[in-house]
């Protein structure tokens, strides 16, 4: 049954856009919506280097990971894959099936304006295995109309944030919208740990601190008290979370800038008119606020017959011209000087690149995937049944898996 599924998954995927010429390089991604963007980039590229991109997008991330993993290591495997950074990249790099791009960074990407610090997220044992496709910074979006109606403004301190939530709840508005994606519970773990103590977060994801540590419990008890106080909405489907926010049923959402696309395309909301954003202040008021980011790399299949062409294509993708196209369509940018055309998104990019905030890799990539899988399930269980005991039980279960991991 599983092997048949493997076979069928490998046959799956939607043939998207891109060139059909003999010099096309195959590009697999779980971001199916990127098809038109890649097509536009491919058309520009074809004129310059006589190579195009044949894009295949998967709408199911899990099916994509399986298909991509299974096709690596073969000569006919696609040249370029979208992947994840951190531990998920480590796992792939350890198989030796993706190409070392260290020289490409030194010879091309940095000269093209890519921040060399980003290479750290794609480095395994001193070698760089990925080229950045996107870096998404998580911030709190707020509905300006709702905030204006109740005379609220973005919080300066964590206590302000709690006061805002209390006011909204008393007015019958959901303070924080929550989406029910299976993986999405971990964002709240990083949210509260980052606000409590950024170093504690780092120690936790690197295995230097136990999930049952008193400080971890204390940080997440704030989450528990906020759930119990009714500051979180019931978890809903992602599209309903956007709708709750747009309709003013919920006032805030903790999301990356791609959240903006739904607000603008589906609800005609305008940046700084209808919605704004802020970074959650630290709990102690002294520590710089933390912005968590998700860095997605593109990797090249080592065994693929397209490997050399894929490197040439990647050099073209890692340019400001290509990122301009990507940023305008996705409403998210991370390269200095590249603008999305959206004031809020550009502001997020600007503050994330400033020295006023601490940047941390998000939990999903920052810690081993076995721990992430266990954590997401247990944190959801805690979210639905918040109590001191359920929190301790969730943390004990996560630690049990963490104890078996080799960090």
């Amino acid at each position: 049954m599983t092997s048949t599924s493997l076979l069928l998954v490998a046959c799956g995927g939607n043939n998207g856009s891109g060139g059909n010429s003999a010099n096309a390089v195959d590009y697999y991604s779980d971001l199916a919506d990127d098809g038109p963007i890649v097509e536009e980039i491919s058309e520009n590229m074809e004129e310059k280097i006589d190579l195009s991109i044949n894009f295949t997008g998967y709408s199911d991330g899990q099916a994509y990971q399986t298909a991509a993993s299974q096709s690596l290591g073969k000569e006919d495997s696609p040249g370029i894959f979208k992947w994840w950074s951190g531990y998920r990249l480590n796992t792939l790099a350890s198989t030796g099936e993706i190409a070392d791009l260290t020289d490409e960074w030194e010879d091309y990407y940095i000269d093209a304006g890519i921040n060399p610090e980003l290479a750290e997220a794609f480095t395994v044992d001193g070698k760089i295995y990925g080229a950045p496709l996107s870096v998404l910074y998580n911030v709190v979006f707020y509905n300006k109309n709702v905030f204006d109606e109740y005379n609220l403004s973005p919080p300066e301190t964590f206590d302000d944030f709690l006061d805002i939530a209390e006011t909204l709840k008393n007015e019958g508005v959901i303070p924080l919208a929550v989406k029910n994606d299976g993986w999405a519970s971990f964002v709240w773990l990083q949210f509260f740990l980052g606000a409590y103590d950024p170093d504690l977060y780092t120690d936790l994801v690197e295995g230097n601190v136990s999930y049952e540590d008193d400080q971890v419990v204390e940080a997440l008890t704030v989450w528990q008290s906020m759930i119990e106080a009714g500051y979180f909405g019931e978890p809903v489907k992602s599209e309903n979370q956007t709708r709750q926010f747009a309709m003013g049923d919920a006032a805030m959402a903790y999301e990356p800038p791609i959240f903006i696309k739904g607000l603008e395309d589906d609800y005609d909301m305008e940046a700084n008119e209808d919605y704004g954003m802020f970074v959650i202040p630290s709990m102690d008021g002294d520590t710089e606020p933390v912005i968590f980011y998700e860095a997605s790399p593109l990797v090249i299949s080592e065994a693929s017959s397209q490997k050399d062409d894929a490197k040439k294509v990647l050099r073209e993708l890692e340019t400001k011209d290509s990122f301009e196209i990507y940023a305008k369509e996705s409403k998210a940018a991370f390269v200095e000087g590249v603008e999305t055309g959206n004031e809020i998104s550009d502001e997020i990019n600007e503050i994330a690149n400033s020295d006023d905030y601490i940047l941390k890799l998000r939990y999903y990539e920052a810690t081993p995937s076995n721990i992430v899988d266990t954590a997401t399930e247990n944190l959801w269980e805690f979210f639905y049944n918040p109590s001191e005991n359920s929190l301790k039980k969730a943390l004990a279960n996560i630690q049990k898996v963490a104890d078996e991991e080799d960090f």
Binding site: M1, T2, S5, L6, L7, N240, N370, N378
Partner: protein, 300 residues
């Protein structure tokens, strides 16, 4: 003379041989597909089930460890209970209710109309039906309407409520399953010879007694087919759950098929996922054998 005699006999024997082989030749394409997609896959899954394998690195042989882990895993136990709820729900809605409707419909003149009405949902794929129902049942669908009508406690996304969502999905899936079973039951009821029924009526049988003692025993062959199809489908329940809840929240609505997929392809534990797949396959085979053995005996 001998030569003349031997020619037609060898031709005849050749013809007989060809006649004997021909039916098997027709089976070859199907057999090839079954071997590739079922036998080979099952054999491969069996091997993988004794290993630890993430799909990327080398397989590590670990004996029965995956099977032992299965019975210690609370997720597996919960998904087994959910699978049993699906099996029970499948017997209740798509089989029992379909049978009741079929009996009722055979007594009305507008059989065709009701057949179409009840069969229509079956024309939708489970995935599409799941998406439609998810939209209807989501926060801004039917629950919102109920909230506006004053039932505020009902204004929530019921598919995110643990355990309740399983019941909702069983009913949703059952609604789709009624159509085909209903048609099969109607066909079966219409094929029952009238004589034994008339004889039973003349001897005083009527109402529920007539159905339990005469009609249903005569409907047994069709009932076995419907039961088998429904049971196998209920053990395989995946599409509806994957689309409507993804097995969540916190894995509370998973069935064995969903757990198998999640362990194998989400958690990258292909060995453990294969062990669940083997258990599921063996369970379905045993149930199928119990249901079909009488049918095969009858044919022999």
């Amino acid at each position: 003379m001998e030569i003349v005699k031997s020619k037609p006999s060898s031709k005849l024997s050749m013809k007989r041989k060809i006649e004997k082989i021909t039916p098997y030749l027709y089976l070859v394409p199907a057999v090839i597909l079954v071997v590739i997609f079922c036998i080979y896959s099952d054999f491969f899954s069996l091997i993988v089930s004794f290993t630890e394998w993430d799909g990327l690195n080398e397989m590590q042989f670990i004996g029965f460890q995956n099977y032992i882990q299965m019975f210690q895993d609370p997720n597996f136990l919960l998904s087994s209970i959910n699978t049993l709820i699906w099996v029970f729900g499948t017997l209740l809605i798509p089989v029992f209710i379909a049978l009741l409707f079929a009996i009722a419909i055979t007594h009305v003149k507008t059989q065709s109309f009701f057949k179409i009405v009840f069969y229509l949902p079956n024309a939708l794929s489970q995935t599409i039906a799941g998406i439609i129902l998810t939209t209807i049942l989501s926060t801004y669908g039917l629950p919102h309407l109920l909230g506006v009508m004053g039932f505020e406690s009902l204004a929530k996304d019921w598919l995110t409520v643990p355990y309740i969502n399983t019941l909702i999905m069983v009913v949703s899936s059952g609604w789709q399953g009624i159509g085909l079973n209903l048609i099969l039951f109607i066909v079966g009821l219409n094929q029952i010879p009238k004589e034994p029924i008339e004889a039973a009526i003349m001897e005083g049988a009527k109402g529920i007694r007539l159905y339990t003692k005469v009609v249903l025993p005569l409907l047994k062959p069709i009932m076995l087919i419907v039961l088998l199809m429904s049971l196998v489908n209920s053990f395989k329940s995946f599409d509806t759950i994957w689309v409507m809840t993804n097995g969540g929240p916190f894995r509370t609505s998973e069935t064995l098929a969903v757990t198998m997929y999640k362990e194998a392809f989400v958690n990258n534990q292909l060995g453990y996922g294969s062990a669940i797949a083997m258990l599921l396959s063996v369970t379905v085979l045993i149930i199928s054998w119990f249901l079909l053995r009488d049918t095969f005996k009858g044919e022999e």
